[in-house]
Structures are given as C-alpha cells and as structure tokens.
C-alpha cells in the first residue's frame, strides 16, 4: 500500500482545538467538523502536530517486531541516535539484545554516516556555492515545498540510512542469502523516516523494507534484559564505559550524527570552519528565509535537522532530548578518528534529482492566478486579521486563500458571522417597524 504520510488522528481524542493548526510550519492542518485534518500535499511529516497536541490525538504508527516473520533473514539498522536512549547499556550490549530479538545481522548506520561525512566534504571542496544537508527527510520536503528555489542546493547524496541499507543488502546477497529472504529493518526515531519507505526521496524505491519505532525497540530491549536477569536499564548499574581496544572499531564519530552538530563534527575541520548547524523546524525555516534572500554570508554548508537538537529530538524517542544528548556525547567523545573502511563500497549518488514541488499556487495560468489574487486581497480586507484560528484555518490569510479556492466560506469566521447576524437582526427589527398600509398608527400595539 502506498502511504504518503504517517501522521494519523485518533478522532475520538481530537477536541477540535487549533493548537496543531497554529503550529504547523506548512499550514497543512485545518479543523473541520471538530476534527483536525491534514492536507496531504502540504504535510512534510515533521511531527510538530504530534508534539503540540495536548490530547494526544495525533500519533504515528510504524511496523512492529511481528514483521520479522515476513523474512527469513532480517537485518536491523541502528541509527546513530538510538544509542542516546541508553545510559548504561553500551552499543555492543544493545546489539546483542537485537540479535536475541531475532535479527540475523545488526548494522550501524553510523558507519555510513562517517562515509557520507567524508564524501560530502570532498563534494564541498569540488563545487562552488552553498549546500544544505539532505540527511533529514523533513528538511528535504520543506525545501521542495516552501523553498523550491533552493532545491538545487541540497546535497545530491543518499542519507546514511539508505546508504547502509543498500550496502547491507548487497553484502548479504554476496554471502549467498536469497534476495527474497532479506528484510532490512530500521529503528526509526521519527515518522518522516518511516514515510520514506513508502514515499522515498530521490529514489525509485527505498532500500529499507520495514521500520520499527525507537519506542517499540526500546521496550523490546528492556524485555530481553529482564528475561536474561540482567536488570533494567533504569535501575542501578554503571554508565556504559569504553571497552579496551574499542577505539577505531565502532563508528563513534558517526554516532555523533544522532544530534545536531554531529554531522559537522564528523567532517574535517576545514569544512567545520565554514559550516553551521541549525535544528528545530521553525528555526530552520527562519534560516532558509535568510538564505533565500541572500542574507547569509560566508557559510558554505548547512547541517539542518527538523527536530530540536537533531534526531535525539524525534518523537519516537523514549528519553528526553537533554539526557539523550549527554548519553550520545559520551559515546561520540570516544571517536577520535573514523572507522577504517573503504568508502567506495557505498553508492552515494541519488538516482533521481530532488524536484521542486509546485503546490499552493492559486492557478497554473498567471492571468487566472492574478484574478484569484485580487479576490484574495479583497477577502483579506474583509476578514478581521485577528488570526484567532476559530475558523479552523491557522490565520486569516490562510482562510482567505481557502475561501478563494472554494474550500471555506466567509461565515466560517465567527466575527463575520456575528456581524452578519447583527445586521440581520437590525434588518428584521427595521422590517417589523414598517407598518402595513392597512393598519392605523394608533392600533399598532394591537
């Protein structure tokens, strides 16, 4: 089944408030008939609505561990941010748990992250102009939708998860595993990376087969630990320590990618010196505004992530992003150098160019669009400009646009409705005082 997005609504929980509507960075949500509905073509899977909803009506689903049964040879990819969820369990213990859960192979996406950092640095040396990291799918979707003029500035390489998925599959095939037996699973920190499986960016088909949310994986790992009598992550025990000889074996540098700034830290200092990291969708938007009007000077590369503090801020994570940053930083500090690997094993190039989206135009014909624009100006003039969102649209300008596009009406505005009712009452009152000619004045109270 082709799914365009993965954010869902529990209708019975939706109170019809407009918190999500107001906070949506692409103005994709409207409350209609008391329920918040998402306009699919405007949604970028940023999960801001999930974060904002006080009633927990917005949520997202992923695949589950039951899906392991679909494949004889399931492989799991661990994203850099996953390790941030554990303070006492080290990477090797976490991997052992996942093996016990039924995965034949446990692979670090951080390896591909290290390779991509190297490849990106090389690319930035070669090409003039400014570039934006394309590793966060929400940022890619945001640029294509609202900053189409910057689409060509997105790095034209696959993100670490796809690089690693492709390589893991090739490696398994090379070892003689049958194609239909291989299932590539990803432990996703966010709905956007789940969406990428059914709706990939720059690829015809995703290299990932299934994605399980970090929260499901976290619970499963705790179960494994309990059964083994090893105690829960939450109680007692020492913080994970580097084991002897681990340096250079595990991709600690790549693990840094799990939080904002980590991608840059995995790059040579020459690149770091002319780059900037920004996280959080609203800050990313503000920055893209400045880039778009050429008001950012001297910066060559932008590491942008939609969640606050990067992937550690993804909505599927279990622990708070502050603790997660600390946990991850401790791992990252162990990686003074990247793992020695042959970067040519990765197939970096995206088969398809990122394309700009043409959504939100009044009309494809300029003349017709102008006519609608004039109408739009009139509607904006009529509306009160209070941006109260009681109409179900985020602000008056958006309601005006919905009216012009035939999706809403002026009476959706409670202030205009009140005014109309008032005027109607006045007219009724005036009418009531107009006497039929057959009646005499002194008999009017009859």
């Amino acid at each position: 089944m082709m799914k365009k997005h993965s954010v869902l609504l529990k209708e019975e929980l939706c109170a019809g408030c407009t918190n999500c509507v107001k906070n949506c960075p692409t103005r994709a949500i409207r409350v209609h008939h008391g329920k918040a509905t998402i306009k699919g073509d405007l949604c970028i899977d940023c999960a801001e609505c999930i974060r904002t909803c006080a009633y927990h009506a917005k949520y997202s689903m992923t695949d589950s561990f039951e899906d392991l049964e679909d494949f004889a040879y399931p492989i799991v990819l661990i994203p850099p941010s996953f390790y941030s969820q554990f303070r006492k369990l080290g990477p090797e213990e976490i991997k052992a748990c996942l093996t016990k859960l039924g995965f034949k192979e446990v692979v670090d996406v951080s390896l591909a992250a290290e390779a991509l950092s190297y490849k990106t640095a090389e690319f930035l040396d070669q090409y003039p102009g400014i570039f934006i990291s394309s590793s966060c799918p929400v940022v890619v979707r945001l640029v294509r939708l609202l900053y189409p003029e910057l689409t060509d500035h997105l790095i034209p390489f696959k993100p670490p998860v796809d690089l690693m998925a492709e390589k893991a599959r090739q490696d398994a095939l090379a070892r003689g595993i049958a194609p239909e037996e291989i299932g590539i699973f990803f432990l996703t920190p966010c709905p956007a990376k789940y969406t990428n499986i059914s709706n990939p960016l720059g690829l015809e088909k995703s290299h990932v087969d299934r994605a399980i949310s970090v929260s499901l994986a976290y619970q499963a790992i705790l179960e494994v630990r309990k059964e083994a009598g090893s105690g829960q992550e939450a109680s007692g025990g020492e913080e994970a320590r580097p084991e002897e000889g681990e340096e250079g074996v595990l991709p600690y540098r790549g693990m840094g990618w799990g939080q904002s700034g980590g991608e840059l830290k995995a790059m040579p200092e020459t690149v770091q010196g002319k780059s900037l990291s920004v996280s959080g969708i609203h800050r990313v938007k503000a920055l893209l505004d400045e880039i778009s009007r050429n008001n950012i000077k001297g910066i060559k590369y932008f590491e942008l992530t939609a969640c606050n503090y990067g992937c550690v801020g993804g909505v599927f994570n279990v622990i708070n992003p502050y603790q997660a940053r600390y946990n991850l930083r401790r791992l990252e500090l162990k990686g003074r150098k990247p793992v020695d690997q042959d970067y040519s094993q990765y197939n970096f190039e995206l088969p398809k160019k990122f394309e700009e989206l043409k959504i939100g135009q009044l009309d494809s014909n300029l003349e017709k669009a102008m006519e609608k624009f004039i109408q739009l100006e009139k509607e904006i003039e009529v509306l009160p400009g209070l941006d109260c969102a009681a109409c179900g649209a985020p602000d008056c300008k958006t309601l005006a646009e919905d009216i012009v596009n035939g999706l809403a009406s002026r009476s959706d505005c409670i202030f205009l409705l009140r005014k109309q009712v008032g005027e109607l009452a006045d007219r009724m009152s005036a009418l009531a005082h107009e006497l039929p000619p057959v009646m005499k004045k002194d008999k009017k109270d009859r």
Partner: protein, 140 residues
C-alpha cells in the same frame, strides 16, 4: 496580461525591525502566482537589497512591485538624500553607511552590485540632494 500593481509597501528610515518584510511577502505572493522559483529568488534578492537600502541610506520611501506576462518590475522610490556618486556606489566594498550600521552587518557595499547582478534591467534616477528612484526588472 497587462501590467498590474501587486505589492505596495511604505518603508521607514532606520526601521531594521521590519527589514526583509517586503521581500518575504513578495516571495510568498510570487509563489502563489506560480512564478518560476529561480525568477522568484532573483526578484526576492533584488527587493531585499532595495528595501534595506531605503532603511539604511534614505529618509524613507516606498516599494512597488508590478507584474505582467513578460516581466516583474520592482520600483523603489525614496525622498532623498540621493546618491552622491553613482559610479562609486557600484564599486564593490564602497559604502556610505555609518559604523553603527556596518556593525550590524549591513552596508557592506555590495547592495547595488547585487541588484544589478540579479536583475535584467536597472534604471537609477538620483543625484546629490535629490530623491532616488530605482527600477529593477526581471523578465519572466
């Protein structure tokens, strides 16, 4: 399609808080009108430079934007004090902005050059003590 006025904004001297508002609104508007993104970006950059010029250098002014099937025209008109030496104003790095403005990161002396670079046509009417009118055109 005949040329139509699509945006008109008054801009006050020294109003840095609203700097960029005109170009941001224009960008959103042109997107709605279905203007190609690369043309939109050029018009946005030109308009941003023009509005910042009015804020930094002039006594205040106004920006008007016109659109037709063939082109977009951005007209920036202020009430003075005029550009002293137009030739110098086009020299990269030349600026009459005071230190305070430069400390804010503006007035780097690239404004007019940028406008010229991103527009297809540029007309400037100015002189010492006079009003300045700049018309930048981007063909669609």
């Amino acid at each position: 399609m005949q040329e139509k006025l699509i945006l008109q904004n008054k801009i006050a001297k020294g109003d840095f808080a609203r700097g960029g508002e005109t170009s941001s609104n224009l960008k959103e508007l042109l997107r709605k009108l279905g203007i190609q993104s690369d043309k939109n970006r050029r018009v946005t950059i030109v308009t941003y430079e023009l509005e910042m010029n009015i804020i930094i250098h002039s006594h205040g002014g106004e920006i008007q934007v016109y659109i037709s099937s063939e082109k977009i025209r951005v007209v920036a008109a202020d009430t003075g004090p005029g550009i002293e030496d137009l030739e110098k104003a086009f020299q990269p790095g030349y600026s009459t902005a005071d230190d305070e403005v430069r400390d804010m990161g503006f007035g780097a002396g690239m404004g007019l050059n940028n406008i010229k670079h991103y527009s297809d046509e540029l007309e400037i009417e100015t002189g010492p003590g006079q009003e300045t009118k700049i018309v930048a055109t981007v063909y669609l």
